[in-house]
Amino acid sequence: MGVAYSPPDKVIHADLDASSSHCLRQGLHIAVQKAGWVIDREITNGFVYILISPQDASLQCKVQIQDTGRQIFPFFSPILDVMFMDIEEVNKSPLYALHHTSPSYGAPTRRMRAHITPCQIFTYVPGVTHNANSVMGGIPFIDPNALDSTIDLCADEVNDLKTARAWWSCSDLSTADYDWGVPSFRTSWHAGCSATLHNNTFVIEPRAFPDDSARLRIPVMQRPQHFLESYGNVNSDYPVILRWTGTDQPLCFDPFVAWSDTHPVKIRGQLWDAIYRTQYVSWESPLTFDYLLWFSYSTGERQYNGGAPHLYSTGDIFTLYLRDPGLTHFECDAPEPEPPTESNYAY
C-alpha cells in the first residue's frame, strides 16, 4: 500500500525526562497532545486519552497513562501503567509497565523516548531492550477497501468482515508476572505480550514465554519452507538473501500488523509512519528513505544459528524503522518545548 503517513506536524519524536513519575507523565502528557491525542479525562496521577485515526475519525481507541504507585521486580522499581482500551472502555489491555526513577534504570538522569503519532505510540530507551522500557500500540492504518465506513462496497467482498474498529498493543515485559522480558516490536517481528481488538473480537496475551500462539505480529518475508527442509539450520540466517546481489541493499516493506486468536493470523492493517527493511542494523541507526529521515526502532540478535531460527530475534529478518522528524526535548517543569528547528519533511 505504501507508507501510511500521518500529518507531518503530528509526528513527534519525544526525548522525555523520565527521572520521576511526575516528569515522565508530564512529558508524555504534552507530547501526546502535540501528536493530536485528545484528553478524555484526568484521573488520579494520570490521564485517559482518546486516539483518533487520521484516516477515519470513526476509528478511535483510548490510552490510559497513570501512576498507581505500583512497583515491579527487580529492585521493586516504580513504574507507570499504560493501558490501551476501546472507546467504551470494555476491552482493556493489561497494564503495561514503564519504568521511571529507579536507580537501576538510570535515575536520577534517566530519559526515555517516545515516537508518537495521532493514533500510535512506541516508547523506548536508547540502547536498551526489555525491562519495562518499550510499550507500543495504536490504531493501524486500515486497507480502505476494508473500512466499515466505506460506502462503495464491492459485490464480491465479505462485507460483514469490514473493519469498524481496531487497535493493537504490546510491551517488552510480561504482564503475567511482570518479571520476564518478552519479545515486542522493539526486539522481534512478533509480540509475546499483547492485547488487540478488531471489531468485537478482543484477544489478550500476557505470556511470559511466547511461542507460536503469540498473537500479534508483523508478517515478514522469508524463503519457502522447502529450503529449511533441505539445508537445516546451517543457513538459518536466511534473511540475507533478501538483499540485492552486489550492492547488498535491502528491500523496504510495509509493516502490516496481523493477529488472531488462533492461526492463521489475519492482516488487520499497517503501522503508521513505519517501514521495515531486510537488513540488521543496530539500535537507533539513522536512515534517509523516501526523502525523509527515519531511525531504526527494532533490534535483535544478528544471527541465530541453532534451534528455532529467529524465535527471539529480529536482527537479520528485518529492522523496523520509524519516521524521524527530529527529537523534541521535553524537560521537566520547563516551558513547552519548540519543535525541531530543522524539519525533514519533504512536503
Binding site: 500500500m1 505504501g2 507508507v3 486497507d143 477497501n145 476494508a146 467482498e157 465479505v158 468482515l161 469490514k162 473493519t163 512478533h190 478488531h198 511466547p210 511461542d211 507460536d212 500462539s213 505480529r217 508478517p219 515478514v220 518475508m221 522469508q222 524463503r223 519457502p224 519452507q225 522447502h226 529450503f227 529449511l228 527442509e229 533441505s230 539445508y231 537445516g232 546451517v234 543457513n235 536466511y238 540475507v240 538473501i241 533478501l242 538483499r243 540485492w244 546481489t245 552486489g246 550492492t247 528491500l251 523496504c252 516493506f253 510495509d254 496481523a258 488462533t262 492461526h263 492463521p264 493470523v265 489475519k266 492482516i267 488487520r268 517501514i275 528455532a308 531460527p309 529467529h310 524465535l311
Partner: protein, 449 residues
C-alpha cells in the same frame, strides 16, 4: 510506491496457450515446434536465426550394398548387434550426445536389436543411387561432401529452416527421430541484453530411443553472445502417459515458462522426467548496478518446479559460467507469520480480515557464486516479469485465476508440507501457503467475469 509494495514488473504482451504432442503419430516434431514458435511470437519473441535440420551420413562405399548379415557384437559373444562396421552410419547432432543409427537391409533380415534405419534401400542400390534416394526420402539436399578413401562423409540439410522433414524415413523401428531442426527465438532487449533460445527435437539428454524437446539458451550481453552463456536443457516427451501430452506455455518478452498442463509430477511413470522449465531475464530497478545481466533456466521434474517456490536449474550472472549447483537455483520468497508450528492443522493462508489474499512481488534470489551450495549465498537477483506471489497454495490442476480483474496463470505452489500436523521439519519454521502467478493478456485464457 516508496516501499516494495506490490508493483507488477510488466512486460507486454503476455501470452499463454497450450501445445499438444500427439503420441499416435510420428509427425509430431514439426507441429509442436511450430506451436512453440507461434507461442513465443505471441509473447513478444522474434525469429533470431535460421536453424536447418542437418545430418551427417558416413558411407563406406567398399561395403555397399548394405550389409547382408548384421554384424556380431564384439563384446557379447553370439549376440547380433550393430557395430561401426556398418556400411552406412547416420549421425545427427543436437544439443546433447550425437545420435547415430546404422543401416541394414530390411528386406532380408529381421531388424537387429540396435539402432538402424530403413529407407527403401535395396541390395541393388549403389552408393550414388543411395545418396539420391536418401535425399529424396528426407527432403534434404547434400550441402557438403568429404571423401577419405572408400568413405564418403556427406552433410544433408533441409531445404528450409525450421524443424526437419518427417524423420520416419530414417527412423526404422527405433524410437528416435532425427529432425534436429528447429527455431531460434530472440527475446526483447532488456538493459542492453537479450536471450536467444533454440528449440529442436531429438532424443534429448537421455539419448537414443527417447524423444525430447532440446533447448539451448544463450545470454547476449550488450548484444553479443557472452562467454559461457549457453545452457542446454530438455523437456521429455516420453514415456507416454497418454496418447497426448498437453503443455502449458506462458510467454512475455523477457521470459517464458512451459510445463505439463495441469500436472504436478511424474509419479505415474515411476521415473522423473524433466517436464517443466522457466527461462527468464528478470526485472531489476532502473538504477540497479549489482549485476549487468542475470538470467536463469529453471528446469526439473514437475514435482520440484510446480510444488515449491524453490526451483532447481541454472543461473547466470554477467560473464560467469552457468551455475548448475542444485542449491544455486532460484528462490521465490514469501511472507510468513508463524514462528514455530505447534498448532496442528492446515497451513496458513494469509489474508486480511475480509479474507482477501495478499499479493506480493515475485522476488527471486540466486547465488552469484556458481560453486555455492549454501542458501546463505543467495541474494536478490530480480523480480519475475508479470508475476506475483499469493499467500495461498493451489493444486496443480488449478490453471487460471482472476485477480484484480485480470486473468492469471498458476505457475507453482508451495505445498511441500500441506499439513502442519505432519511430522518433520515444519515444526522448526512456519510457512504460509504461497504460490506464484503470471498475469496474461491473451491466449486461451478465460476472461474475468
Amino acid at each position: 510506491m516508496p516501499t516494495e509494495s506490490f508493483s507488477l514488473a510488466v512486460a507486454s504482451p503476455s501470452y499463454t496457450g497450450t501445445i499438444v504432442n500427439e503420441r499416435t503419430t510420428p509427425e509430431r516434431g514439426g507441429s509442436t515446434l511450430g506451436a512453440w514458435r507461434d507461442a513465443m511470437h505471441a509473447g513478444g519473441w522474434t525469429d533470431y536465426d535460421d536453424v536447418y535440420a542437418s545430418i551427417t551420413v558416413r558411407l563406406d562405399v567398399a561395403q555397399l550394398p548394405v550389409m547382408t548379415v548384421p554384424p556380431l557384437d564384439d563384446k557379447l559373444d553370439g549376440t547380433v548387434i550393430c557395430t561401426l562396421r556398418a556400411a552406412i552410419i547416420i549421425t545427427a547432432t543436437g544439443f546433447f550426445e550425437p545420435f547415430q543409427i546404422w543401416g541394414y537391409d530390411p528386406g532380408a533380415y529381421t531388424p537387429p536389436p540396435c539402432d538402424a534405419f530403413s529407407y527403401g534401400l535395396t541390395q541393388q542400390d549403389t552408393a550414388d543411387t543411395f545418396k539420391v534416394k536418401l535425399a529424396d526420402v528426407l527432403s534434404m539436399i547434400i550441402v557438403d561432401t568429404k571423401i577419405d578413401g572408400t568413405v564418403e562423409t556427406l552433410t544433408y540439410q533441409s531445404v528450409a529452416p525450421g524443424p526437419g522433414p518427417n524423420g520416419t524415413g530414417v527412423a526404422g523401428w527405433v524410437n528416435g527421430t532425427i529432425w534436429y531442426g528447429g527455431y531460434n527465438l530472440r527475446s526483447e532487449t532488456y538493459r542492453g541484453n537479450f536471450l536467444d533460445v533454440t528449440g529442436l527435437e531429438g532424443p534429448g539428454s537421455l539419448g537414443k530411443n527417447h524423444h525430447a524437446w532440446e533447448f539451448l539458451a544463450k545470454v547476449h550481453r550488450g548484444g553479443a553472445p557472452a562467454g559461457g552463456a549457453e545452457q542446454r536443457f530438455d523437456l521429455w516427451l516420453d514415456p507416454a502417459q497418454s496418447s497426448q501430452l498437453v503443455w502449458r506455455i506462458v510467454v512475455c518478452p523477457y521470459q517464458f515458462a512451459i510445463w505439463m498442463d495441469g500436472q504436478a509430477d511424474d509419479t505415474a511413470t515411476g521415473t522423473p522426467y524433466p517436464r517443466a522449465a522457466f527461462i527468464s531475464m528478470p526485472w531489476v530497478p532502473d538504477d540497479f548496478r549489482g549485476h549487468i545481466v542475470f538470467a536463469f533456466v529453471a528446469t526439473s521434474i514437475l514435482g520440484v518446479f510446480r510444488n515449491t517456490l524453490k526451483w532447481n536449474g541454472y543461473t547466470w550472472f554477467d560473464g560467469g559460467p552457468w551455475s548448475t549447483s542444485e542449491s544455486s537455483g532460484v528462490i521465490v520468497p514469501a511472507l510468513r507469520t508463524r514462528t514455530t508450528v505447534q498448532t496442528p492443522g492446515t497451513p496458513d493462508r494469509l489474508t486480511t480480515t475480509q479474507g482477501m489474499l495478499i499479493t506480493d512481488n515475485a522476488w527471486i534470489t540466486a547465488a552469484r557464486d556458481p560453486a555455492s551450495v549454501f542458501v546463505i549465498d543467495h541474494r536478490l537477483a530480480g523480480k519475475l516479469w508479470n508475476c506475483c506471489t499469493v499467500n495461498d497454495n493451489y493444486p496443480s490442476s488449478t490453471t487460471f485465476g482472476t485477480m484484480m480483474d485480470t486473468p492469471w496463470v498458476h505457475v507453482s505452489s508451495e505445498s511441500y508440507y500441506p499439513n502442519y500436523a505432519a511430522p518433520g521439519v515444519p515444526f522448526l519454521d512456519g510457512m504460509q501457503k504461497a504460490s506464484v502467478w503470471w498475469r496474461v493478456e491473451s491466449g486461451d485464457i478465460p476472461l474475468p467475469e
